[in-house]
């Protein structure tokens, strides 16, 4: 196939009309024929060939009987001649590419775009080819290299040419190529270098030249070093991401349980209520304002806060305020409430998970380091968690409500004596804690499943964080959430997800045995009593 391609490249420099046979092979052939047809079309250098290949990649290539068409919306052109076809034939069938074909197509299209007049197109093409291109494309790359003047694209092109010559170039060229690979930031280079160092079955090296092998070793070490850094950065980020999720889930509980002393088993369900509110808001946007769909979160965040806060305040007024100071009864009552909430949601929305769609700006990710992609959804949640944390901190330390809450927590009787309406403060504080649970639900709906059982998965984690951090301390919650995030992710990378969960639980049990007050404990007489 490669020989065919090179031969075609040499002899087909004149622009032929697009060969019918090739297009037909592409549309009707077995995959070996299709791959050959792609090579032949690339070699033809015809702009129509590029259009045909692009159409296949985009799923726009269709066949009607024996005719091959490019169908864009309601308009069709003949793939061979480029002429308009009207009316659109009724019986059409799409030509579908499989993985192998898509791989070939991506390379071929990139090769064709190397000489594109637009800089962006060339840059994209170079990036695509940097992942290991077919050596048969070397003449194309060389030709592009002669014309290329852009300071970013040119070195990348040289690198591509180098990888292509890795197998068959002169010794100097190969050494240069191997050295250049050592400086590449594409994770596929490791594969290329491993190929150079490969041993055959009989123990001899695939690469007979020792000098080249030595250079390849050095380059491989450099690449592996950078990959290792990427891996560390990856673990750091995933830990922070998990920590931020734990923090969001636990922050509401840090207020209801930590500050107010209510063992709130319905906390998870308040998270779930927040997630379902997000779902409801999303549906409203989809129905009434599909154009503004990407911004539904701007509405969903306050909505989920308010709905969960309202549910929480209702609970406090109706049930919990009669049970202050009776921990066991509160625990049982809130557990019962959690079951009621789950069943209510099941009745309204059904037992199955509902789908919450990410806004477009939250899909995909950004490549931070070699081989490390940070998903936008996670980044947004980390930022969101930080913002919520700052918000709560300001609320508790800078506002009158915060002052009252702290006062009631530290000494209820005294606060009451100086005129703080303690009952009302309790309601507001419980509402605040519940509202923050709602915010957590809104965030969680963006990365996980939203179902009636959502809260159950987070209630244990939330209590773990609050108890570990020390009851009554916001700072303790932050340290505990991030600490558990790190512990979980390090253990997961080392021993797998199942064991990591067990080890973390065992650790917390041991820790609470040694230090029941948690990492940070409130000091003072009120607490001792």
């Amino acid at each position: 196939m490669r020989i065919l391609l090179i031969a075609l490249l040499l002899f087909a420099s004149r622009a032929f009309a697009l060969e019918v046979a090739n297009v037909e092979k592409l549309a009707f052939g077995e995959s070996d024929e299709q791959v050959a047809a792609i090579a032949a079309l690339v070699a033809s250098g015809d702009p129509q060939a590029a259009a045909v290949l692009q159409a296949l990649a985009d799923g726009e290539l269709q066949v009607a009987g024996k005719r091959v068409l490019i169908v864009k919306g309601e308009e069709a052109t003949d793939a061979v001649t480029g002429a308009k076809v009207a009316p659109l034939p009724e019986e059409r069938e799409g030509v579908v590419a499989n993985n192998r074909l898509r791989r070939e197509l991506a390379g071929a299209l990139a090769g064709l775009k190397l000489t594109s007049p637009q800089r962006e197109a060339r840059l994209a093409a170079v990036k695509e080819l940097a992942g290991g291109a077919d050596p048969a494309m070397l003449p194309l790359v060389k030709r592009a290299l002669e014309k290329e003047a852009d300071p970013t694209i040119k070195p990348m092109l040289e690198l591509i040419a180098a990888t292509m010559e890795l197998k068959d170039g002169s010794k100097e060229a190969r050494i240069a190529a191997v050295r250049m690979l050592g400086g590449s930031s594409n994770s596929n280079t490791k594969l290329l270098l491993l190929g150079v160092l490969e041993k055959r079955k009989d123990g001899s090296f695939a690469e007979p030249d020792e000098e080249i092998r030595r250079e390849a070793q050095a380059s491989l070490r450099a690449v592996e070093g950078r990959l290792a850094w990427g891996e560390r950065a990856g673990i750091l980020f995933t830990s922070i991401s998990l920590g931020s999720i734990l923090l969001l889930a636990a922050m509401g509980l840090a207020i209801t349980y930590g500050l107010m002393g209510v063992i709130n088993m319905a906390h998870g369900e308040l998270i779930m209520v927040g997630a379902y509110t997000t779902y409801a808001v999303q549906n409203l946007f989809r129905e009434h304002a599909p154009d503004a769909f990407d911004w539904y979160l701007a509405c969903a965040v306050p909505a989920s806060f308010m709905v969960s806060a309202a549910v929480g305040m209702l609970l406090e007024r109706l049930v919990i305020r009669w049970l202050y100071g009776r921990a066991l009864e509160t625990l049982l009552a809130t557990w019962g409430i959690s079951l009621v909430l789950i069943q209510t949601v099941r009745t309204i929305f059904g037992a199955q998970n509902v789908q919450v769609e990410n806004p477009a700006f939250m899909s995909g990710g950004v490549e931070a380091l070699m081989g490390v992609v940070l998903p936008w959804s996670r980044i947004v949640i980390v930022v969101f968690a930080a913002a919520v944390l700052v918000g709560i901190w300001l609320l508790l330390t800078r506002t009158r409500l915060g002052l009252f809450v702290r006062g009631v927590t530290q000494n209820r009787a005294m606060a009451s004596c100086v005129g703080v309406p303690t009952a009302r403060v309790d309601t507001w504080a419980f509402g605040l804690g519940s509202g923050i649970a709602g915010l957590a639900g809104c965030a969680l709906s963006q990365i996980g499943n939203v179902g009636p059982d959502l809260g159950q998965a987070y209630i244990v984690d939330s209590f773990m964080v609050v108890v570990l951090g020390g009851v009554g301390q916001l700072a303790g919650t932050v340290y505990a959430a991030l600490g558990l995030g790190f512990a979980n992710k390090l253990l997961e990378a080392w021993q797998g997800a199942v064991l990591a969960k067990i080890v973390v639980l065992v650790f917390i049990i041991m820790f609470i045995q040694k230090r029941p007050q948690g990492l940070f404990a409130l000091k003072g007489r009120a607490v001792e009593t």
Binding site: I235, T238, A351, G371, E492
Partner: protein
């Protein structure tokens, strides 16, 4: 000899007693059938539609006059993705509701949980999901795929030039009996093909796991060591965060293809499939298969979903386990009509060799002996619209091997249930 006669006599006495006590009353009334699928919890994402498609089949059978002139009456219970609850509910169906047959279960752990109940009470279970094999009970008909009808062909495809020629393998699954056993079989199979121990990485996550960041990063790292493919036996709603993470981290199918055995059209409903184009699934049916039987079935399902206002009726989807459930209930009906009774043992005998024109456009045949269907295998690639494009298929139906030849000691096991049934004490 005496002992055997005694057992026979007991069986006879018990079954006579059963006929005596319940037979008369039920001869004219409807035949009760149990539906045992999780309608809540982590497995609800997959199992709810199986309940619906079973009810659709019952409606259809009733509309055509029922079975033996009697209507079918469905008894639907919800075992809530709770494995011990499956056994309780199964016992309730068999002893209290006295159902003639049960259609149910998805996860192998739920099947293992109900199996002793069905064997003890001599009930009849139709299990509609692909599974790991290593089991053959007289009381169960397995209408899903055995490993040689799904897992092995999928791995062979990924090894081929067409499938990308994978050299390294990540075996990723939910932590329970099906993924563990399947991966044991696959490991033995890969080794028989000359794959090194260091080129196989086995990973498990708990049920309902939702944070796949580390797993996906690990897969990427593993893939820097050579052409890698991922075999996913993740079950339930964990698939949604897994595929979301794959898409977000930009792991493309052209670089590292992921083939899944428990992900179909229904599981991908909530996922943006554009970044996932090219990832694979191996099944014995895809919604995109062309054929008159499938077209009619899809139309029937769409109409049913709309009429019953099922969730997702605006975009009705069919999938492989739904097809298997559909085949199961129709074959049971045919067997009952052949046996002229709903008696478990007689229906089991009548099931042998039943055929049914399946939506996958082949005629499904129940093996005369081993309680499994002969099935054709399809491998499909995910498309941007959430459907699968079939890229490979077997020439025709292949016979199931519940005892995989890649598990040591299986060569001595017989390819049919040994007939030993524990009788109620």
């Amino acid at each position: 000899m005496i002992r055997r006669n005694f057992i026979k006599a007991t069986v006879l006495a018990v079954s006579l007693a059963a006929i005596g006590s319940t037979g008369y009353a039920q001869d004219k009334g409807p035949i009760k059938v149990g539906v045992l699928h999780s309608l809540s919890g982590t497995m609800a994402i997959s199992e709810t539609v199986l309940k619906d498609v079973t009810l659709m089949a019952i409606d259809e059978i009733n509309a055509k006059g029922g079975v033996l002139g009697r209507k079918l009456e469905a008894v639907v219970v919800d075992p809530a993705s709770n494995w011990p609850l499956f056994a309780e509910k199964a016992r309730q169906l068999l002893t209290q509701d006295k159902v003639a047959v049960v259609f149910g279960c998805w996860t192998s752990v739920s099947r293992k949980s109900v199996l002793p109940v069905f064997e003890e009470l001599n009930g009849l279970l139709f299990y509609p999901v692909q599974y790991e094999g290593e089991e053959l009970s007289k009381n169960v008909f397995y209408t899903g795929a055995a490993p040689n009808q799904q897992a092995i062909p999928a791995v062979e495809y990924l090894m081929s030039k067409e499938g990308g020629g994978a050299k390294r393998w990540v075996l990723l699954g939910t932590d329970y009996v099906y993924p563990r056993t399947t991966n044991k079989i696959l490991r033995a199979f890969l080794k028989s093909k000359g794959v090194d121990e260091k080129d196989i990485d086995e990973k498990y996550t708990p049920f309902g796991h939702s944070d796949y960041q580390t797993i996906v990063a690990d897969i990427k790292k593993f893939a820097t060591g050579g052409k890698t493919a991922v075999v996913s036996t993740i079950n339930g709603d964990s698939n949604v965060p897994f595929y979301k993470e794959l898409g977000n981290q930009g792991l493309k199918a052209t670089d590292v293809p992921v083939v899944a055995f428990s992900v179909g059209e229904e599981e991908l409903r909530g996922v943006d499939t554009k970044p996932l184009v090219g990832h694979l699934a191996a099944w014995n049916y895809f919604m995109s298969i062309k054929g008159p039987v499938n077209d009619a079935w899809k139309k029937q399902w769409a109409a049913y979903a709309k009429a019953k206002k099922l969730p997702g009726a605006d975009k009705p989807l069919t999938n492989d386990p739904m097809e298997a459930a559909w085949i199961g209930i129709h074959m049971w009906k045919q067997a009952v009509e052949k046996a002229k009774t709903t008696d478990t043992d007689k229906v089991i005998a009548a099931m042998a060799g039943q055929t049914f024109k399946a939506p996958s456009d082949i005629t499904s045949t129940m093996d005369p002996k081993n309680h499994h269907l002969h099935k054709a295998v399809f491998i499909g690639e995910v498309q941007a619209n959430g459907q699968f494009n079939v890229v490979w298929k077997t020439k025709g139906p292949i016979k199931a091997q519940p005892w995989s030849p890649f598990v040591a000691g299986n060569d001595k096991k017989k390819d049919e249930p040994d007939g030993k049934t524990v009788i109620a004490k």
